[in-house]
Structures are given as structure tokens and as C-alpha cells.
Amino acid sequence: MSIPLNYYIVLSMILFSLGIAGVTTRRNPILIFMSIELMLNAVNLSLIAFGRYLGDAGGQMLTIFVMAVAAAEVSVGLGILIAIFRTKDNVDVDVLNGLKG
């Protein structure tokens, strides 16, 4: 007897909610990036689960592209972080208000 699809979806939603909590509570940009990775992984899991249960190979294809975009995002984001740290000693996101956001 196989696992119902709903279990994978609920697990994916739990991991996504953890990512939301991390992004909204963390002040360290690196930890915010990690929480974003958590959310991307949750979406990947639901994509693969849907693809498997609906018999569609598109879920795994989309997951490949999500992984590639996540790798690009992390490399550029950490580059920005190093550039910020070079001009300011603090990388607290509440202190980095130069854009008056």
C-alpha cells in the first residue's frame, strides 16, 4: 500500500511554513537565505510528488530548473552580502536600511 499524495503535500506545506517563519523572524541575511532554500525544497518536494502521482514527467523537469535557479540566486545573493560586508561592518537586515524601505 503506497502513501497517499496528500501526505507529501502536507509535509511540503509544513516545510514551507517553517521557511516562512524563518524568513520573517531572522535578522541575519544568511539565515534568511537558508530559510528561502527551505521553502524552495518544499516546493520541489510537492512538484515531484505531483509529477509521480499524476504520471507526468514535468514535475521533475521543473524541479531541475528550480534547483538551477536556486544555485544562481545563492551565488549572486552571497556575492551581494560580501559586497555589503565590505563597506559596512554589520549585516543585520534591520540596520541595512540604506534604501529607506
Binding site: L18, A21, I30, T87
Partner: protein, 187 residues
């Protein structure tokens, strides 16, 4: 709800990796030390890779371990150590009201979506023919036959993904590379 599905061999595998993923994901969110949070994220990525295996996505489970748990996490740890944040010297303490609002909104979102997934329709089970024919869909051969098929839309997107990675590499080098003359605008 068919909870007895969790008592089969595949169900116990799902349960183990699901509990590990949720526990390590919670540690990523609540641990104060960035290094420990990063190592918890590695455990989380391995657990999700195990879940990919239970969904017959063999190639993606391998990619998850090599790319995510390997390359991306090494990048994270490198930057944490480069910026010397391992001692939790950043004031990463939580603030009360914002934390309560954030966690309650996250729990509300997760609960809402889980309710939709559980109550929307009866349990979606694996189709019977997928047990037989779906075994090769996640292999390297199965992925490649779909990804590089010119009659499917993925080949065009794949080519542009390589261009995106090139742009990301150039951008990262430009952003983090050594300046010839340090700029004086310290804002």
C-alpha cells in the same frame, strides 16, 4: 485518512524522512548559531533527498545531495566563516511581537494549505500502472529522454538555464571580486 498506509515498509521510510526533515527544518529556524543552522539545513536536504528516493526520483535525489548538500551548503559555510559569523556575535535574538506574528502567520498558512490538501478530495493514491511503468521515469535515461526531447518545451528552457548560470557567475564575480580602488561612499 488511511493512516495504516504509514505502517508498510514504504510508509515507515516516509515517516522517518518526514520527521527528520521537519525536525531539522525547525532547527534551521530556531538555532541561534549560523553554523549549526547551516548543518541542520544539510540534514534537512538529505532527508528531502530520501523523500525523492521514495518518489522514484533517483536522479534528482542524487542532484539534491551533490548540488544542494554539496555545492550550495559549502558556499553557505564558506561565507559564514569568511564573515566570521560562527560565534553568533550578531544580535540574532528574536523580538517578541514580531516573532509571535510571524510564527502565527506561518502556522496559519500551513494549516490552511494542509486543510485544503486533506479535505479537498479523498486520498489520491498512486495509479496502479505507475507501479510498473513509472520505475524508469526518474532515472538518468528517463530524465534525459524528456529533457532533451525537441518536441517538449523543456529543451529551450534548459538552454536558457545555462545562460542564466553564466550571468550568475559573472554577477557573483563582479559583486564579490576584489576592487582595484576601494570606493569611498560608505553611506
Amino acid at each position: 485518512m488511511t493512516l495504516q498506509a504509514l505502517l508498510s515498509g514504504q510508509g515507515l521510510m516516509f515517516l522517518f524522512f518526514a520527521v527528520a526533515a521537519i525536525a531539522s527544518g525547525l532547527l534551521v529556524v530556531i538555532l541561534q548559531n549560523p553554523l549549526r543552522a547551516a548543518l541542520s539545513l544539510v540534514i534537512n536536504l538529505f532527508s528531502v533527498a530520501g523523500l525523492y528516493l521514495s518518489l522514484n526520483a533517483y536522479f534528482l535525489a542524487t542532484v539534491q545531495v551533490i548540488v544542494y548538500a554539496g555545492a550550495i551548503m559549502v558556499l553557505f559555510l564558506f561565507v559564514i566563516m569568511l564573515l566570521n559569523m560562527g560565534q553568533a556575535n550578531l544580535n540574532t535574538s528574536y523580538r517578541g511581537v514580531r516573532t509571535i506574528i510571524a510564527f502565527s502567520s506561518a502556522i496559519g498558512f500551513g494549516g490552511l494549505m494542509s486543510a485544503v490538501a486533506l479535505k479537498g478530495q479523498p486520498d489520491v493514491m498512486l495509479p496502479a500502472d505507475a507501479m510498473v511503468t513509472g520505475s524508469s521515469a526518474g532515472s538518468v535515461e528517463g530524465i534525459g529522454k524528456v529533457l532533451y526531447n525537441p518536441n517538449l518545451p523543456w529543451l529551450f528552457a534548459f538552454e536558457w538555464t545555462s545562460f542564466l548560470l553564466l550571468v550568475a557567475v559573472i554577477g557573483a564575480v563582479v559583486l564579490a571580486g576584489k576592487r582595484q580602488q576601494p570606493s569611498e561612499d560608505k553611506a
